[in-house]
Symmetry: C2
Amino acid sequence: MKLYSYWRSSAAYRVRIALNLKQLSFETIPVHLLKDGGQQHSAEYQQLNPNQLVPTYVDAEFSLNQSLAIIEYLDEMYPEPALLPEDPAAKAQVRSLALDIACDIHPLNNLRVLQYLTGPLALNDDQKTEWIHHWLHTGFSALEQRLQTTAGEFCYGDNITLADLCLVPQMYNALRFKLDTLEYPTISRIYHHCQQLAGFALAAPEQQSDAQV
Amino acid sequence: MKLYSYWRSSAAYRVRIALNLKQLSFETIPVHLLKDGGQQHSAEYQQLNPNQLVPTYVDAEFSLNQSLAIIEYLDEMYPEPALLPEDPAAKAQVRSLALDIACDIHPLNNLRVLQYLTGPLALNDDQKTEWIHHWLHTGFSALEQRLQTTAGEFCYGDNITLADLCLVPQMYNALRFKLDTLEYPTISRIYHHCQQLAGFALAAPEQQSDAQV
């Protein structure tokens, strides 16, 4: 299996964690989001992924975009360790925590949005940072509140779930943008705990072959 | 069961379609997103849904936010008619089409984002409309391309799926914002086809008790 990935992409990072936790070996194909005007916009890549975003997962069967769809697919095909609880109500809460991040935080601070802010809208650096922090604080405040009732060692109880696979890349992103995370002790605790685990550590941006550090 | 809803919310609209298709009776509790500075920000609602967004689903078991998590939960608890194919690869493609809309189009044109554009960023009406159209065109171009290989009568083959429940509210939204949809014949065809079906028609914003037309 292959993963079209960019080291700093949060969405690709989520899938890398899933692949590692399930001990699946995969080939990383780097798509540089900034080089050549963005390699994700090349005709070849667009054919594979019309959204011109990373990641794209490719196996013998098909190619698939959207990180959460990829992770749910992997979880069905390679059930160990499970990334979703079996109980429907618990599963729903995990999906909802994951979507809190994947729908309501991440898309607003994605590269293409920041490029629109500084390009067509001509925002300056301070305005761009305010935008980024605004949506991170909005989302993290809600997430921190929800975790008070759902979290154990991880986002939902004491097992790693899909929600943790979303939390870690989002927190990585927040730290990269120098967000003050003192108000989010539960998010921070889960983030640091996950970082100790090999599946998460090996998926980190700096560990990727295309990392520029 | 109860659904905290706002007539024009795309995300609530998706869940209303699912409830109708599964012939589940539910009580709608309107949350007016514009009145009283936004009723979704009230202390009472925030307790129920820390994200301060609609919809929220409440049944005897629990309360749940995030439209896609709610629909997947309903699909597990009330399997007829199924909104996802059984085959894992097909299911993954349907989820991915749904997420193309739910992650990569809808969040960027949501009310709170438009309020940030015209509030803190002081964009004028033309700039706001350009923003809305930019993300709709970006997302619809990709979706139209993907549908060339997946669509039959509906987004994925000839059965209604989660993807159609996302497409219809998004197209409703696009038409409301006067997007030129001529370039998207497949999206338009599926939209108009769905509108003929009772489950979709009864979920339409104008049919809701809190509609202001």
